[in-house]
Structures are given as structure tokens and as C-alpha cells.
């Protein structure tokens, strides 16, 4: 990315490279933040946008620190977000493990792959998340623990991207790299462990980054139906119900959900950085 950007520099704009990159990036971020705040507040004043539609930024900040009998709002939101995070994490782990195992099976057995692959691919163009309400309601009626249905939704949202990407990774082994293994008379297990598995790792992480957010979304969606009592999704629903009386709180819950998504993504990205160390820095 940066290469192309600097290429554009030389051909088109050619700005003098005096300020270091991090400095103008930092300055830029500050500027963007300020700009958003100014536009936010001035449009609110200019068009007389009511608080329930667009609260003051201070109202959102206030909503975070407001005390309640159970502690300040930010603490409650943190607890609910952690609960959602746990649901998502259980589903994420379950979905990525089974997804990985299925991908390995499909890679090993051509017949199996021919039969199942079209459906796995189609799953990417189809809104499978729509079965979420049935899982929540159905499992709730069966008396399953409330977190389980959320975890299952997170699991199947994780499952499909992992299968597709890992399978692609296992298959994208360089032909000569494979012949090299053949020249050593390596066993199938050695080829898998020493060649296919490492080749597939970057692909796995691409999927995990998609799935990290998807599993958070899945858990939140699972918390929407009536009857749920814990989780950031519940707080969003509460926030939207009391928005007219308490503008700012709805935004606070949504900011919390956004942070949760970013955190999940960031955790996977960090793990990738630690594990896939052989890649050139972008």
C-alpha cells in the first residue's frame, strides 16, 4: 500500500518530504477528530437536531459515567460487553476448530470436496445469519443455558469463512515446493505438517479476522429476542427503548459494541503478527 502511495508522490503530487510520516498522521487524526466534533455540534445547532436524534457529545460522555445502583454505567456496559465477548469467544473457538478440521478433511478427500464445496461457497452469498432467531427461541424453549444459543450462532458464522480460506490455503501450495517434498520421499503427514499447514496459516488468519467480528455480531444478534437478560445486545435494545428520556445512552451502548468488535479483530491481528512472522512488513 505504502509503496503505491509513495509512487503516486513521485508521479503526481510530489510534496516535499519534510515532516516525518508519523507526525502528519497524528496531526491528521487529531484534525479528523476535531472536524467530526465541530461538524457534529454545529449541524446540531444549525439544523436544530433534537437530542434524541443526535445528542451532544458531552451527553454521550455523561451517559458513560452516570452512577446507577449497580455502579457507574461504564462498568455495567463493561460487564455486559464481557459477557457478549465470552459468548462470542466460545462460538469463535468452536467454529474455527471444526472449520479447520473440516477443511483438512475436504483437502484430503477429493470426493468429499466435490460434494460439499459448492455449498460451503454458496454459504458466503447467502444470509445464513437469518436462522439466528430460530436458534435462540428453539434452544430457549428446550431449556439450554442462555449463552449456548449465542455461541452456536457465533460458531456457524465463524465456521464457513474458516473452511473456505483454510481449504484455499492448503491447496495453494507451490508445485515445486511439493515436488521438493516428493524428492525427499516425505510421507503425507510430513507434507501436511511441514508444507501445507504453514502455507495455510496466513489464509486461516484472513478468515479469523473476518470471523472475529462476525462472531461478535452473531452474539449481539442472538441477544436481541425478548427474554435475553445479559449482554451488550440487551443494552442496545434497552438504550433504544429509553432513547427519548436518556439520549446519549444508546450511543454509549453502540460505542461499547463497536469497541468490542475492534478488540476482537485486534486480538486476532495481534496473534497473526506474533505467529506469521515470516511475512514482509506491509
Amino acid at each position: 500500500m505504502t509503496d503505491n502511495v509513495s509512487l503516486d508522490n513521485t508521479l503526481i503530487a510530489a510534496p516535499p518530504a519534510v515532516t516525518p510520516r508519523w507526525l502528519w498522521l497524528l496531526g491528521g487524526y487529531l484534525l479528523i477528530f476535531l472536524l467530526v466534533a465541530v461538524i457534529w455540534e454545529s449541524s446540531k445547532a444549525l439544523f436544530a437536531i433534537p437530542d434524541y436524534k443526535l445528542p451532544h457529545l458531552t451527553q454521550i460522555a455523561e451517559a458513560f459515567v452516570r452512577p446507577t445502583p449497580k455502579g457507574p454505567v461504564w462498568l455495567i456496559l463493561l460487564q455486559d460487553a464481557s459477557y457478549t465477548a465470552l459468548e462470542a469467544l466460545v462460538g469463535f473457538s468452536l467454529g474455527s476448530l471444526t472449520g479447520f478440521a473440516i477443511a483438512v478433511l475436504l483437502q484430503r478427500y477429493v470426493r468429499l470436496r466435490q460434494g460439499f464445496l459448492p455449498y460451503v461457497i454458496a454459504s458466503q452469498t447467502v444470509p445464513i445469519i437469518a436462522i439466528a432467531p430460530m436458534i435462540v427461541v428453539g434452544m430457549g424453549r428446550m431449556g439450554a443455558p442462555p449463552w449456548l444459543s449465542k455461541s452456536i450462532i457465533a460458531a456457524y458464522l465463524t465456521f464457513f469463512p474458516v473452511v473456505i480460506n483454510v481449504l484455499r490455503g492448503l491447496e495453494s501450495v507451490d508445485r515445486d515446493a511439493l515436488l521438493l517434498m516428493r524428492s525427499y520421499a516425505a510421507t503425507d503427514n510430513q507434507i501436511f505438517r511441514l508444507l501445507r499447514l504453514p502455507t495455510s496459516l496466513p489464509y486461516l488468519f484472513t478468515a479469523l479476522k473476518i470471523s472475529a467480528t462476525a462472531s461478535v455480531v452473531g452474539a449481539i444478534i442472538g441477544e436481541l429476542p425478548v427474554g435475553s437478560t445479559r449482554g451488550i445486545g440487551v443494552q442496545i435494545v434497552v438504550g433504544s427503548q429509553y432513547n427519548t428520556f436518556n439520549p446519549g445512552f444508546l450511543w454509549a451502548t453502540i460505542i461499547a459494541a463497536a469497541m468490542l468488535g475492534l478488540l476482537a479483530y485486534g486480538a486476532v491481528a495481534l496473534a497473526e503478527k506474533r505467529i506469521v512472522r515470516w511475512k514482509r512488513e506491509a
Partner: protein, 256 residues
């Protein structure tokens, strides 16, 4: 193996998997008799699907229209923003991290705010879908407009081509594969966005709300039938964009 029998197998194996899965599903449900609301047999889903076919399709079409509206607005705005951002390397270095990070944000969670802004009707769903489509399109389009071989740009430079000429002859065609990749992702994103945004509330003649209501009153076969319809519209939307891609990019080789 000859070509013909190979091609047969490509169809045969998935068909076999489909048949076996359905048969197994039906058989196991008959055998263990789980409550219908937990796992209805395929026959019951099919019955529900055929008996309300017209109604389901009209719900599906309503939801699809929301998805399409959001797709057009979001992708269109993404393209316009990309042409602006791509002109300045500094601007793209500044803004792209935000656009990439937005991938990690559960945008559908903002549906309640969209409802406050645009009402409980289709407007709020279109808005959510538009936001969800905006960022992937922006990121891909900027990449496509700037990820160009230096020689191709140097060639235009050697012709003393204007910025506009460079844009129409090199940058825009170069970005097409990237843009269509984003469009294809956005077809799925927009259907998902519309349905999930409907889970937050709306009128009953839309798929998401229908699924949610039928599930909550334990009419699970109806909800499954609605999901069939959602899948149909999702696939149809996707393949429509694929067709458009083939038509607009005849030079792009088909991948197997």
C-alpha cells in the same frame, strides 16, 4: 477420466450430498421426533414454502429492494469517495485505516440509531445497508485506483497524458476487478444487513421481521421457508453482479 464424465461428477457429487442430507434430516426427525419448533422436517418446510409461495416471495422482494437501495447508495458513495481519496496519497493514508477498521465494527448494531433517524420503515434499513457497503467499496476502489504498475503510469506520462486521460485509460480499468470484488462481497453484505436490521423492528411484510415473528411464536417451518427465499434472493443478487462483471470486463479471464 474423460472430460464428459468429469463434468458429470461435478454435478453429481453435490446432488448426492444434497439428497443424502435431506433424506437423513427427514429420517432422523421421523425417528427421534424432536419438537417441530426446534428442527422441522424438510417436508414440512417445503409445505410451508409452497403454500405461502406468493406471500414469501413478495416479502423477499421487499427486503431485496432495501438491500438493493442500500447497495446502490453505499457502493456509489464508496466509488465517488474513492476517486477523491485516491487523488491524494496523504488523504488515503489518513482515511484508509478508518475504513479498514470499520470492517471490525458491528455496523448492524447501529440499527436503532438508523431507526431514530430514518423511521421504522425501509429507510433505516437502506441506511444501514448503505453504510455497510460503503467501506468495503471505498477500500477496494482506492486499492484498484492506486495499485497500478509503475510502468503503466510512466507510459501515460511519456504520452504527456492529462490526469483525466490517465484516469479513464489506466486507473479506472485497473480498478474494475477490485471494485467488482467489493460489489460481490456487498451483495451478501446487503442482504445480511437488510435482514438483520429488520430484526431490530419494522413492518411485518419483510423477511427479517417475518422470520423473527414466526420464530417467536414457534412457527419454525415458516421461518425456514422464509430463509429459503432469503437464500434465493442472495444467490440471485450475487449472480446478477457476476453477470455484470463478465459483461463489463470481457478481458478478465474466468476463474475455474
Amino acid at each position: 477420466m474423460t472430460g464428459a464424465s468429469n463434468r458429470m461428477q461435478v454435478w453429481l457429487a453435490p446432488l448426492l450430498v444434497f439428497t443424502v442430507t435431506i433424506a437423513l434430516w427427514e429420517g432422523l426427525v421421523l425417528l427421534f421426533k424432536p419438537p417441530v419448533f426446534l428442527l422441522p422436517p424438510p417436508s414440512l418446510i417445503w409445505q410451508s414454502f409452497t403454500s405461502q409461495f406468493g406471500q414469501l416471495m413478495s416479502y423477499g422482494f421487499n427486503t431485496f429492494l432495501e438491500a438493493l437501495g442500500g447497495f446502490v447508495i453505499g457502493c456509489g458513495a464508496g466509488l465517488v469517495a474513492a476517486t477523491v481519496v485516491a487523488r491524494s496519497p496523504r488523504l488515503s493514508a489518513l482515511l484508509l485505516p478508518f475504513a479498514v477498521a470499520s470492517n471490525a465494527v458491528p455496523i448492524v448494531a447501529m440499527a436503532p440509531i438508523a431507526i431514530v433517524w430514518f423511521g421504522i420503515g425501509p429507510g433505516s434499513k437502506v441506511a444501514i445497508v448503505a453504510v455497510m457497503c460503503f467501506f468495503p467499496t471505498l477500500v477496494s476502489a482506492v486499492r484498484g485506483l492506486t495499485d497500478i504498475s509503475p510502468d503503466a503510469l510512466a507510459l501515460m506520462h511519456s504520452y504527456a497524458a492529462s490526469d483525466w486521460q490517465t484516469f479513464t485509460k489506466v486507473r479506472a480499468p485497473n480498478s474494475l476487478p477490485f471494485v467488482f470484488n467489493a460489489f460481490k462481497i456487498c451483495t451478501a453484505v446487503s442482504m445480511i444487513g437488510a435482514i438483520v436490521a429488520e430484526f431490530f423492528g419494522g413492518a411485518v411484510n419483510y423477511l427479517g421481521i417475518y422470520i423473527k415473528t414466526q420464530a417467536s411464536i414457534l412457527k419454525t417451518p415458516d421461518a425456514w421457508a422464509a430463509i429459503l427465499v432469503a437464500c434465493f434472493f442472495g444467490l440471485a443478487f450475487y449472480f446478477a453482479v457476476v453477470l455484470l462483471e463478465r459483461w463489463l470486463m470481457p478481458w478478465h479471464r474466468r476463474r475455474g
